[in-house]
Amino acid sequence: MRHLLSIADLSKAQALSILDTATELARVSDGAVKKLPTLRGKTIVNLFAEDSTRTRISFEAAAKRLSADVINFSSKGSSASKGESLKDTALTLQAMGADAVVIRHGASGAPARLASSEWMHGSVINAGDGTHEHPSQALLDAFTIRKHLSKGAPDLAGLRVAIVGDVLHSRVARSNVLLLNLLGASVVIVAPPTLLPVGIESWPVSVSYDFDAAIGAVDVVMMLRVQQERMNDLFYPNAREYSRYFGLTSQRLKLMNAPAIIMHPGPMNRGLEIAAEVADSARSVIVEQVANGVSVRMAILYVLLAGQSLKEGGS
């Protein structure tokens, strides 16, 4: 594995090896000395052409715990905002000797363009591209689900997951659908018809417009962030109506299965797609997702740059 661009590029074995490596690395994060020397001398560039504090610091923490040198290259105040092309940015990073580029970009496919071009030779890690994919988020979500619900199984076979909200514009949803399916879980998409892509019939999911009907039948409720400005594009009449049909309210919380968990990739709109008391409830694993994010991103860097997985009893 050289790049991580899309979950579609992963085999089940590769996905599980990242999760297993993350489990091992999580122990390091729990220890007194949080650092491993594995990536000493490697240079990792965080190329963030779109605002994202949480994903960037998560990757930064992951890289530093593996002793890599980290350079943050954000569009605010850097050349990308001055209109430098992706190509010139890539050539610059290549000249600086970047071993890996973690890229967040507003254009779907920008990481794939970097990886397939001759512009740079390092590994490319997709940290979210437009409305395409966010593979590290899906991996950390799977890691979190496995920890809570797999009962010791290596994969997610038999688990049922609802992904709720703006699937049309969600890179988190696209990566999660692929990975959950790869790991044996079944997925139901719950959204207003306006926020589903044409072509979703080809996805390995079922679709429901009825959150109340779907919520009682799943083990995981994964809420997606809703952009307030979508209202202006006629996707739904107003925030209250959205919340009434597709928000995870206190009333809906009562319809959930006993052991079911609540997830959200953040940042949340409290009161819109998720009620504040639900987000803070005992079923919510949202804060834990953030912590797991560092371990999973360490595992991704480890597998891509050290060229191996870290299994129990292994190196």
Partner: protein
């Protein structure tokens, strides 16, 4: 008139018959078996097919304004290399060809290049803005004698503007070539809306955005009894509407591009914007419907929509990239591959779809004539049994944005004759018709 004399030996005519053809004084002087001419340059074309010179109804030559991407001269060279003897220069230049001055400039540049006829297309509306009619009459009466009007790149969206344009051009026996794209349904659209776009997270471009405008405009055309041409049809649904309109006797013609006869939206999976084009590549089902429609004649012609772009406008993210791909140098090979080698049509129909019919639609004098004695010698020779590999670095265009780089294609255009002078000979461009 030219003093160039060429004797083409052993040509297969579009109807399949064999003959020798003597070109002299700019015309086809003789067609017969076993011709001999001591003064003519002898060209053995045994095994090749002789077609009337190809006529493109949809070409972007970029001059004036973006001469880095293409000029009238470089586009003419590209056309001659592809077997064309006439191009139609789209109006979306800078400044826009919405007045007599610009169309006459382009027309004159075409004559100076001298490799083929360059017929300017005039904008329907001022600045392609879709609001006020451009100086249609002045362009029609200019030395460029414009008869085809199009805002290509933009749809003439306002139904009242379209109605008025359709009515007004009747005075000049003109035709409106409509770029059918409902703008509200395609805000920010990047590729065909369907299962591939849903996976790639690229904003969808629904087929209905094209079909809704085609439907509206055939009805408008019927109502005001004018003449409509639909640019680059890409959807099976669009074909159905045109079929219905023709059956009803509405005066509508339609074109398909070579790339829409071959490529599908699956190619967007690479995120390589070389495959980004307006209208977008569609599904396999649409491709098959387009081929069938072209064979039937529901779609009348193949037009290239040759759209040169500078390197930097394609070396970037998909959504930042420009729409469009080169077409002139690969058009005939793509038609052979998709239509002839699949036995959907024969060479006689190729002659119709790429020469006779487009010349008739646009009213181009001296172009698209059947191969007959006395006709202007605008001719193309293709060797259908030879193959070639497309190399973007070897194109005659100023730009390199061919989606077919690396493709092995059937059919090598070996010779092009424009008004009796060889502009392409054994695959080599000639600016003055001299054969080395």
């Amino acid at each position: 008139m030219s003093t160039h004399r060429y004797l083409l030996k052993g040509a297969a005519l579009p109807d399949g018959s064999k003959a020798d053809v003597l070109i002299a004084h700019g015309c086809i002087e003789k067609i017969d078996l076993n011709l001999i001419d001591a003064h003519a340059t002898l060209i053995d074309v045994t095994g090749s097919v002789l077609l009337p010179g190809l006529v493109d109804l949809h070409t972007h030559l970029r001059e004036p304004g973006r001469e880095d991407a293409e000029t009238v001269l470089s586009g003419s060279r590209s056309g001659a290399k592809g077997g064309f003897t006439a191009l139609s220069a789209m109006a979306n230049t800078s400044p826009v060809a919405d007045n007599a001055g610009v169309v006459e400039q382009v027309f004159r540049l075409g004559q100076e290049a001298g490799l083929l006829d360059v017929f300017p297309i005039g904008a329907v509306t001022q600045g392609l803005k879709g609001q006020a009619l451009s100086e249609i009459g002045a362009m029609a009466d200019s030395i460029a004698r414009v008869r085809v009007f199009s805002d290509d790149g933009n749809c003439v969206f306002d139904p009242l503007v379209m109605r008025r344009a359709l009515e007004y051009i009747k005075k000049f026996d003109g035709v409106i070539a409509q770029h059918a794209q409902e703008p509200r349904l395609t805000v920010g659209s990047q590729m065909n809306e369907g299962s591939v776009s849903s996976i790639l997270g690229l904003k969808g471009w629904p087929a209905i955005a094209e079909e809704a405008i085609i439907a509206r405009d055939v009805l408008l055309t019927d109502h005001v009894k004018s003449r409509l041409h639909i640019c680059h049809v890409t959807t099976a649904g669009g074909v159905e509407i045109i079929r219905w309109a023709k059956a009803r006797g509405i005066n509508v013609t339609a074109e398909v591009t070579p790339h829409h006869l071959l490529l599908t939206d699956e190619l967007a999976r690479s995120y390589d914007p070389i495959f980004k084009v307006n209208p977008p590549l569609r599904s396999e089902k649409d491709v098959m419907a387009l081929r069938e429609a072209l064979a039937e004649g529901v779609i009348d012609i193949v037009a290239t929509d040759h759209a040169p772009h500078s390197l930097e406008s394609k070396e970037c993210e998909w959504q930042e990239a420009s729409f469009g791909m080169l077409g002139l140098e690969t058009a005939l090979s793509i038609v052979q591959k998709t239509m002839v080698d699949t036995r959907l049509i024969g060479w006689a129909q190729v002659a119709d779809r790429l020469s006779t019919a487009p010349a008739r639609i646009a009213g181009y004098q001296g172009q698209g004539r059947n191969l007959q004695i006395g006709a202007k010698a605008n001719l193309t020779v293709i060797n259908p049994s030879a193959t070639w590999v497309v190399d973007k670095d070897l194109v005659a265009s100023n730009s390199r944005n061919t989606p077919f780089h690396g493709y092995e294609l059937p059919g090598v255009v070996t010779h092009t004759f424009f008004n009796g002078i060889a502009t392409l000979c054994d695959g080599l461009l000639h600016s003055n018709g001299e054969i080395a």
